[in-house]
């Protein structure tokens, strides 16, 4: 992923959904966007692991505590968009 071009929100969201679906063994279309990570079965360790993988996958840096402050997929994507790390 290029450092110069922010990934689109849709691409990052699809990636996060697929990642979480694999973690909790659920079909991607069944992963809710507005439910907190821990409520859908993603514990804090998994969130930290996912954050590290996201950095490698998309080439941006995320505050490790961000997914705990914005603890849903939609909330995390909103925060990344607000920070200019993903494009609308």
């Amino acid at each position: 992923m290029s450092d110069d071009i922010a990934a689109s929100r849709r691409i990052v969201q699809d990636w996060v959904v697929r990642y979480i679906a694999a973690v909790i063994d659920l079909a991607p279309e069944a992963v809710p966007l507005d439910t907190e990570f821990r409520e859908i079965g993603v514990d804090s360790a998994e969130v930290v692991i996912m954050t590290g993988v996201m950095e490698e996958e998309f080439g941006f840096e995320i505050d490790a505590e961000l997914p705990f402050r914005r603890a849903t997929i939609a909330g995390l994507l909103d925060a990344l968009q607000e920070a200019g790390l993903v494009a609308a």
């Binding site: 930290v48 692991i49 996912m50 954050t51 590290g52 993988v53 950095e55």
Partner: protein
Amino acid sequence: MAEPEISVVVISHDMARELPRTVLSLSPGYQVDCPPGRCEVIVVDNGSAVSPQQEDLAAPGLTLSLHHQPQAGPSPVAAINLGLSLARGALVGVCIDGARLASPGLLAACARAARLHPRPVLATVNYHLGPAEQYLSMLDGYDQAEEDRLLASIDWPRGAARLREIATEVWHGGRDGPMLESNALFMPRALWDELGGYDARFVGPGGGGANIDMLHRACAAPGTQLIRIADEGTFHQLHGGALSNAPNRGMEAGKRLSAEYYRITGRPIRPIKDRGLLFEAGSGKLRQESGHG
């Protein structure tokens, strides 16, 4: 000198308080069914500011060698591989973190379990001394003084069999869940050689995900069998380690570990889905784990 049956590689870095206790916990007077000569302990110091000295680690009947990793970096991987290259025992254990006390039945249980399969991967239990995982208990004031008080309360080392009373089991997915890593991992020396030891690409503090990667590679090797050793393991002493004692930087450290692991292996960190067999020292038998996996 006759070759020992078991070698244990212990890595140290700035553990002046903890390392002598760890080494003592691997000595013949502490370990059950482990007479002098059965086990050798290989300590590799990975760049301590004040290097440990042989006389600080001496224990009655203990076969000990102390080595110093040249050009030590933040990762212990090179030090581990140096230790593995020196191991003479047919069964070799690696303690990536030398600040962990062994349970008194650790060596005997691993030796017995190793005889039950030709290519065993023996994973032992990870504990933290204290009332909770130490990155949490530290936030409530748990410190080395409290840890010393706890050890005195069970009359350690004489009361070593009671270590579990003052400790917390640390699991990735619960006691019955899949395993992520073991901080005292034992395998036949030939299997360590076949796997090439730890992956030198893990250069992060504390080895990052090297220990996780080692367990994965061992379990994925043809014909190997994961065997979890019930109730025997190592107990982490508070020492300011890279992850276990990182209350305010634990998330950042974990994120960096995850990123490095993904960069090197191309996979996210995942526990071992196959929960393997459980060795119970009391019966001396293996049993299949049941439940989710």
